[in-house]
């Protein structure tokens, strides 16, 4: 018998609904019918809810945990039964074998077309999978019935059902807010684990301070370029170069736009312009990437050719320029917040002393808002560093160590994408290097964010 997970969950929910009605009825009848309801400690619905929760939660937990691990257990069992041959295989070859088996199991490859070894494994896999589905269904439904039954027996007029239900609800709420922490832990653990595997193959000093990056490793040891080079400095400089270009565009334009809109523009202009600017923020980055690669890159190349310069068609300038446009609304809305947070009394004081409007802005408002704006700019830098699609589509792949924005450079994010997209086995230094780069990216942006958020928060408190 085959019960898909979705219908199993639906069945459990249905069962919980039945249990709700049962629990409610029992409470009412124990109280002596409708007239005696005031003898109950809580509302009848609370008793029903308690029974339903006892029924659904443990069994849903069973389903969740089971589904999280059954594929792994099945995989290990099947590989174990393949015998000595499979366990002694290299990691890469084992990955291919597993892929073959999986394709047969999922029906992508006909059973008859597979080799006998794979066929046997696939059949065993299917068998185990059916068994697993059946087992989880039986286990979950038993848990549901037992849990609900126990709670149903517990129902009594003195039972403080409301308190019990609310404790469960609060526990669920806490669990949900823990997801944020779990995500961070997940990022740190998973990315770090792979990154440390990488640092076991390539020393971290070479990675952080080496200046030569060519991760393409030949498969055979005697080919040219058999040892990949993993010096990430050109990636760091490339990332910074593009980020610098982007900030050079977005900071002045964003800042001045924010000043104009906050201090000069009348309300109608502001009401039209702000949403239009925010339109820029809502456009997916892949659209910017397309725009950079197909329009801005060639445009810059033609312009440069006219004045006698040569620009690489995947120049840092094109990617940085478009990234700058993308970040303008980010800078301007943050700066706008900071400027409007400056108390009016400061402006009034300055104007009363005879300063012009622009002098007031430059010498009083901006100075008062400076920490906040600086924090906002740091946040923008962290966005520029982590931005992926624009650079993937518009920046180059070759790791050049240069400070010239007319050259093609590559960035950390571009390399992560190129290293991980495509079918490559999981344990080669090439793929692991992507996780090391990811770790660097995560740590760098985290530091920037922590500093920026601290500055912004401190500044906000100042005027509250």
């Amino acid at each position: 018998m085959m019960i898909p997970t979705s219908s199993l969950v639906a069945l459990i929910v249905l069962l919980a609904g039945v249990m709700y009605v049962g629990g409610r009825r029992r409470a009412v009848s124990l109280a002596g019918g409708r007239g005696g309801v005031q003898r109950l400690n809580s509302l009848p619905g609370h008793y029903g809810m308690l029974v339903a929760l006892w029924c659904a939660l443990p069994s849903l937990a069973v389903v969740l945990v089971w589904n999280g691990f059954d594929q792994r257990v099945i995989l290990d069992t099947v590989l174990g039964h393949l015998g000595q041959g499979a366990t002694s295989l290299a990691a890469g070859e084992r990955g291919l074998l597993v892929n073959d088996i999986r394709n047969v199991v999922q029906g992508n490859v006909a059973l008859a077309a597979a080799s006998p070894e794979v066929r046997a494994a696939a059949l065993e896999w299917r068998h185990l999978q059916d068994l697993s589905h059946l087992a989880v269904a039986v286990l979950a439904l038993t848990t549901a019935v037992v849990g609900g039954g126990v709670a149903w027996r517990l129902v009594a007029p003195q039972l403080r059902a409301r308190r019990a239900v609310e404790r469960i609800v609060e526990a669920i709420l806490i669990l949900c807010s823990l997801v944020a922490i779990l995500t961070t832990v997940g990022i740190v653990v998973s990315v770090m684990a792979e990154a440390f595997k990488f640092f076991g193959l390539v020393s971290w000093t070479e990675f952080l301070f080496g200046t030569h990056w060519s991760p393409q490793m030949a498969i055979r040891a005697d080919q040219v370029g058999s040892s990949g080079a993993f010096g990430a400095v050109p990636l760091f400089t490339g990332t910074l170069l593009i980020a610098v270009v982007a900030m050079a565009i977005s900071v002045p334009i964003g800042l001045f736009a924010a000043i104009y809109l906050a201090e000069y523009a009348d309300r109608r202009v502001r009401a039209v312009t702000k949403p239009l600017l925010e339109l820029l923020a809502g456009i997916p980055t892949v659209v910017y990437g397309f725009f950079a690669a197909l329009t801005v890159g060639p445009l810059l190349r033609d312009l440069a050719a006219r004045v006698g310069l040569t620009i690489a068609s995947e120049s840092a300038l094109a990617a940085g320029l478009v990234m700058g446009i993308m970040i303008i609304p980010f800078v301007s809305s943050l700066a706008d917040d900071m400027i409007t947070a400056v108390p009016q009394s400061l402006r009034d004081g300055s104007l009363a002393l005879g300063a012009t409007h622009s002098e007031t802005i430059r010498k009083v408002v901006l100075r008062a808002a400076l920490p906040g704006i600086a924090g906002g700019i740091l946040l923008a830098v962290s966005r520029a560093i982590g931005e992926t699609m624009i650079v993937v589509m518009a920046a180059g792949l070759s790791a050049n160590l240069t400070a010239n924005p007319l050259d093609a450079v590559t960035t950390v994010t571009v390399q992560i994408v190129t290293l991980l997209v495509g079918d490559s086995e999981f344990d080669s230094p090439k793929t692991l290097a992507a996780f090391a780069l990811g770790l660097v990216l995560f740590v760098a942006t985290l530091l920037l964010n922590i500093i920026a958020l601290r500055i912004v928060r401190k500044y906000r408190e100042q005027y509250e």
Partner: protein
Amino acid sequence: MSESANAVEARIAANLRRRYRAERRFKAYGLVAVTLSLLFVVFLFTTIISKGYSGFRQTYVQLEVEYTPDRVDPEGRRAPADLAEGDYLAVIKAALRAQFPEVTERSELRKLYGLLSQSAEQDLRKRVVADPALVGQSERVWVLARDSVDQYAKGQVSRAVPEEERAVSDQEMGWIDALTASHRLEKRFNWRFFSSGDSREPEQAGVLGAVKGSFYTLLVTIVLSFPIGVAAAVYLEEFAVRNRFTDVIEVNINNLAAVPSIVFGLLGLAMFIQFFGLPRSAPLVGGLVLTLMTLPTIIITSRSALKAVPPSIREAALGMGASRVQAVSHHVLPLAMPGMLTGAIIGMARALGESAPLLMIGMVAFVADVPTGVTSAATVLPVQVYLWSSSPEPAFVERTSAAIMVLLGFLLAMNALAVLLRNRFERRW
């Protein structure tokens, strides 16, 4: 005092002029900045639209086909299985030969056949299988032209380019012109673009697969992120006592909101695919990754929606003997719901436009089939844009822009919905 009053006045006047000039300059900088950013918006949209609008029309060629029984149904049984086996390519070839009797040489004939898309054969097959009475009849049908024919018909291939550098030769241009002159070549609305999945052939490629992939991915995302996000926000805003623990959660949420999206992709790859063994390229994994990514946004907006509900509501409920959970679930949550939904829609719009983390978990694979569930291999709209934009075929440029227009259309609709919701249900206290 050597300086006369006049001189002092003149100095002040000059100084004032200078200061007013600086004032005007400063204001002008601001105006320039605003104008520039608006120009960027306009430029971006005009580029995309001018490149993409032609993608919504596609060139078709009219053929006078004859479904001769010996080609279509040699057994003569009219059984669907037989009809599906028929040689429709021969039918098309015969029709083309009849239309251009002057072409006789083999290599030229091959070029002539090449004017049509490979899908023409499939389309005829479908027609006949659906209606076996067509066998032995002849009819006029419109079939899809090849991408280069389409490009020439749309004026994207110029005769000025040397013949060997363009996709359409002079001879082919002559045929196309002849077809146009006899009204046998026509541009029609490109339904196929909205009704088919991806294809290697530009003229057959459509966005339906990507749209459905996006739909399933967002479905997983909203189903997981909205309840979890609201629950977390309720806990932090309504129940939690401020202490180190909640501080840690709060700092965490703020930091997660600023983590580059690609890092979430790495997490998804290492955890969901490597560790839990979930299928690659599946909307399920994409949705999980996007859930983790949009959760901070949803928590933050939900919290501000909860904050906007005045404390008097809670106090009134508590005063009537409600518990905290009752006060929140019966009174605060319904009042905060419009704001939370607005936040959720905006979060979903962001998730819809996201592509970097999905590249990591294999949603960039070429998938021709339209996905049918959360575990079938799929791609999403922005990734489809990325895939087409990196394709060397020039005909994909207009498809990419057209796909971008579809994507922007969805985003616009979602944001409009959010604004509508806010205006309709937002209450000021």
